[in-house]
Symmetry: C2
Subunit: 159 residues, 2 copies
């Protein structure tokens, strides 16, 4: 399969899992954390599916399309590992982390801090959706929509 | 529709139109020009669908995933407008240009040089596939696969 085919599958899986998570999170209070704003497409998607919800986006620098810029008070720039740590205890309803790189060695470093950070940000009952597995006892793996191939995306509920 | 939904549609349309173009181009001699290597996903796709064909990729700088780096002799870095002009007369079988930005003012500048460049690169009977319309008398618009929404992608045959 070409990387283009694989990418389309990944994006479609991401969309389906975010839609599913938004359905659940509609009944869970608290802000949404978008770890890795990137181009801003999933931020835009979350904003459409969770109208009125505060969505705080994190990234090293602002690279999003102009149509997907968060309000200044909802954009936190810098190393996500450092900046997001300041929000531990925020009782988030949803943490979405799309910061995998496709390079195993780089992703291994991310996995030394991301699972614990997600735990710290979420309220009990809140969801984490991630392109990397978040292996923590406090996070209960949830079944994925049928359209999402195993191992591509992960969803958890904070116990 | 969210930007994520729109993006998935655009990628799927791009894949379908490239598959269609590769079917046609299999019987047309000449190199392939990839104007805008970017992440390298469509380069990777073209390489899979046109095995053995020379594919020359152009971009400002190399930002592609390591799995999608062209051979050094098939990678031309610099302003595409300038670098690709040196290949006019190359008798290409396919020119694929995915260099739209989503910003109308920037794309308008690209459109001042891209259509003419595509004409100059292609052999008679060669195809141009583009995310921006290429309005030139030498380029005959071709019908798109049914799955490609009108106005999102364009395909032409060099007369």
């Amino acid at each position: 399969m070409s990387r283009l085919d694989s990418f389309i599958r990944r994006m479609s899986a991401q969309r389906d899992i975010l839609n599913h998570a938004c359905e659940i999170v509609r009944n869970v209070e608290g802000p949404v954390f978008e770890l890795g704003l990137g181009n801003g497409r999933t931020f835009h998607h979350l904003r459409e599916h969770l109208p009125g919800r505060r969505i705080i986006a994190f990234d090293r620098e602002l690279a999003a399309h102009a149509s997907s810029h968060p309000a200044p008070e909802d954009l936190v720039l810098g190393e996500i590992r450092d900046t997001a740590s300041a929000f531990v205890g925020a009782e988030a309803a949803l943490v979405h982390a799309d910061i995998g790189t496709g390079y195993d060695d780089k992703d291994a470093i991310t996995l030394t801090w991301l699972p614990q950070l997600a735990v710290g940000l979420l309220r009990s009952g809140g969801l984490a959706v991630s392109g990397l597995p978040l292996d923590r006892a406090e996070l209960e793996p949830l079944p994925l929509p049928d359209s999402v191939p195993a191992g591509r995306y992960f969803m958890y509920r904070r116990r």
